[in-house]
């Protein structure tokens, strides 16, 4: 086997993190039509929360235990969600209300990205630590409990926790969108905001909520990325490429497609570069982003609407029909 089970699990964890980010990016694109280039940096705000929890509470108590994952996920969802909602209310909504087009809004998200990046970097740099040597670049995974997997490998618990969390979050979000009044209103607003307004839906509130949820999901992905890599906002510049690639592969027309697209992009980045390295004997694992961008080109060429636009029923019939020898 060219890749180990451990590598497979690591790739799934990475794919899940990118998937959660792409899901949020797709959501705010669908509601407010803003391509948010600050999305990855917003998500990495949770690196501060992770470091703070680890340094003040868990290391003082002797290490990371299962509650760490629950606490960091919940706190990050709420806090980063609020940061994201604040960015919408403070920057993007005022600009949109003044009639700025999508290009201006996109450039505004670049500005937000740079500001937030600098702030995060500064905060992590001066963060007063008690138990960690320093906050910036803190390797959180070193303090995580290990889980033994078949084959005798031991993986960090987050490798298992975050893919499970991504699936649970997708299910919860599905229940929210289909079973709650506000969730149905969100789908209605995505389809036809004017009609939703005339029926009494406060679409401004729906937009704000979508930014909160999008930021919250990115925050959870940010926890995963901090655990997998380290606490440093510099990763956002790399991640954002994969996140956009994931959303485009998904088709930017449905949040689940965003999750799936992001997962596929994140997963293939790891897998394809690893396989290519094994086969060629060259060190190609630094070319991850090339994989995501090649995926984008392939999707735009052959399925311009992304995965969401593919007629899966027809495709299946064609493949199965071909398998039977064609009829």
């Amino acid at each position: 086997m060219p890749v180990s089970l451990k590598f497979l699990l690591d790739s799934i964890a990475w794919g899940s993190a990118i998937g959660l980010m792409s899901m949020g990016l797709t959501l705010t694109y669908l509601t407010t039509r803003v391509p948010n280039f600050a999305h990855a940096t917003v998500g990495l705000v949770s690196s501060v929360i992770v470091v703070w929890l680890l340094d003040r509470f868990y290391l003082a108590r002797g290490g990371v235990d299962p509650s760490f994952y629950v606490v960091s996920i919940v706190l990050s969802f709420i806090f980063v969600g609020l940061v994201s909602a604040a960015i919408y209310l403070g920057v993007l909504k005022p600009l949109a209300d003044r009639g700025n087009d999508v290009i201006n809004l996109m450039i505004a998200t670049f500005a937000v990205d740079i500001i937030l990046f600098s702030l995060l970097f500064a905060v992590l740099n001066v963060f007063p630590t008690h138990n960690l040597e320093r906050a910036l670049d803190a390797q959180v995974s070193g303090y995580e409990p290990r889980i033994t997997i078949p084959g005798g490998y031991r993986v960090a618990a987050s490798t298992i926790v975050f893919p499970v969390a991504a699936v649970v979050l997708a299910l919860l979000f599905h229940i929210f969108l289909t079973k709650t009044k506000f969730g149905v209103a969100m789908r209605a607003t995505i389809e036809n905001p004017n009609l939703a307004e005339t029926l009494g839906v406060n679409t401004k509130l729906v937009y704000l909520a979508s930014w909160f949820i999008s930021g919250g999901l990115a925050g959870i992905a940010g926890v995963a990325i901090t655990m997998i890599l380290s606490a440093n906002p510099k990763y956002s510049a790399l991640i954002i490429v994969s996140v956009f690639a994931g959303s485009i592969v998904g088709g930017l027309s449905g949040v689940y497609w965003g999750l799936l697209g992001g997962f596929l992009v994140g997963f293939s980045e790891k897998m394809v570069t690893k396989l290519a390295s094994e086969i060629t004997g060259l060190e190609l694992t630094n070319y991850e982003r090339m994989v995501s961008l090649i995926l984008v080109i392939i999707v735009l060429l052959f399925a311009p609407q992304g995965l969401a636009g593919v007629d899966w029923g027809r495709l299946k019939a064609r493949i199965l029909g071909g398998g039977r020898g064609g009829d």
Partner: protein, 239 residues
Amino acid sequence: MDGNMLVVDTLNAGYGKFHILFDVSFQVPKGKILVVVGPNGSGKSTTLKAIFGIATIYSGRILFEGKDITRLPPHDKAKIGMAYLPQTDNVFAELTIEENLRMAAYTLPREEAEERIKRVLEDFPMLKEKLNKKAKTLSGGQRQLLGMAMMLIRNPKFFMFDEPTAGLAPKAAKEIIDKILWLRDDLGKTIILVEQNARLALEIGDLALLLVSGRVKFFGRAAELLENRELGRLYLGLH
């Protein structure tokens, strides 16, 4: 003091920088139908959108039951008893019929919403069989009926219809017109109806507003406009 449900006073409106309505004024008395007629592109739909707050209002005032609602957001207008059926895209195609109805009952408390949905389904039995189907599976006439059912759920006092019969077969169109007359005659509702069939509109309307290039050419009794040979010939293709 007066019996007017809606008063529009020197309204100037449009979309962004596109000025479409110029100094439009009219009133709609309680329990009456005002029909808005005029050539294509004269601002009939924009009038409805401006009243509901979806178009941009530059100046002028809109009073609903004596209260100034010019700057009230659309979702709050829904709460005070106003309803609007857009000409196209007036149901959520990607939502099921049931979800569409639940959206229409958005402003109501849960129990009341359930009860109203049940009652509306009795008036529109066709929808009952398709509750779990997406609205995009409905025919044009069925969609208009769903749109109308959605308006009725909140039991509003005031209705605005934008060409509800456009593109419908005569039978389906008659069904819609009958529902509109039922709203006025049996339920005493106040209605603004934009209709491209001027004769039909003027026959069922109490009052008429003739818009030409965004300006009011005539406002008064519908019967009077129907008899006005000059306006009828110039702008409505009558006579």
